[in-house]
């Protein structure tokens, strides 16, 4: 469950999940919505896949991402959107800083 909280703590990842609520989207199309580098975006995707909130599927040469959130996880996303989630764990904060670099 800590993986889920860590994944939902970041606003970029929350935005990815919101975009995926409309349906499966390719990695390229998702990245267009954000002003971040490719490796950073890949790191965000990796965190979301690691938390089992999204699923990556290869279709030809493109990677499609799909939402894989349970009802409880979606409710948590709603709460995180409404009230925000604070990362207090120093390890998590270091990970986020690493991803932003």
């Amino acid at each position: 469950m800590s993986h889920v909280f860590k994944a939902l703590a970041d606003p970029t990842r929350r935005k990815v999940l919101q975009l995926l609520q409309q349906g499966p989207v390719s990695a390229g199309n998702l990245a267009e919505h954000f002003d971040v580098t490719k490796p950073t975006m890949s790191a965000h995707f990796a965190v979301l896949v690691g938390a089992d909130l999204i699923q990556a599927e290869k279709q030809g040469r493109t990677i499609m991402y799909r939402l894989k959130m349970s009802v409880l996880e979606e409710a948590l996303l709603g709460f995180a959107q409404a009230f925000g989630l604070q990362i207090t764990n120093s390890e998590n904060a270091a990970t986020v800083a690493e991803e932003k670099q």
Partner: protein, 138 residues
């Protein structure tokens, strides 16, 4: 790390069988327990709440049960919307079922909880039919 699909499906079947056996066992225990050990009204309420919780647990997992995109014959976005709607509708139905069995008068609890859960299932069916009709028009 990869997992063998047949192994994971046999694990999930085994888990489902264990849960089913557990539920039946608890239901039998609640039924046969003498009144001096457990109040019959409390036993009925516990059973109702347990059924509601089971519905919530299974409904919670519905949006996570994905089938591969390559095998999908319908619009993936529509399928995802239906799966999410089903999960939410059944989870709310299950919660309502459990709450009714917790607090409603016992003489009304059976019909009220059943009605609420049936309503949740009917809403899901209507949503699926509407989704299919919309897709066939498109």
């Amino acid at each position: 790390m990869t997992t063998d699909p047949s192994q994971s499906s046999s694990v999930s079947i085994m888990r489902a069988l264990i849960i089913a056996a557990l539920l039946l066992g608890i239901a039998v225990v609640l039924k046969v327990l003498p009144p001096e050990y457990l109040n019959p009204e409390l036993a009925r309420r516990l059973l109702g709440v347990m059924i509601g919780v089971v519905v919530i647990i299974y409904a919670n997992r519905v949006p996570k049960a994905l089938s591969p995109l390559i095998r999908m014959r319908c619009d993936p976005a529509g399928e995802q919307a239906v799966r999410r709607f089903t999960g939410w509708s059944l989870a709310v139905g299950g919660a309502a079922f459990a709450i009714v069995w917790m607090f409603a008068p016992l003489r009304h609890a059976n019909s009220l909880s059943g009605g609420l859960l049936c309503a949740a299932v009917m809403i899901v069916i209507v949503r699926i039919v509407l989704g299919m009709a919309r897709e066939s028009h498109a």
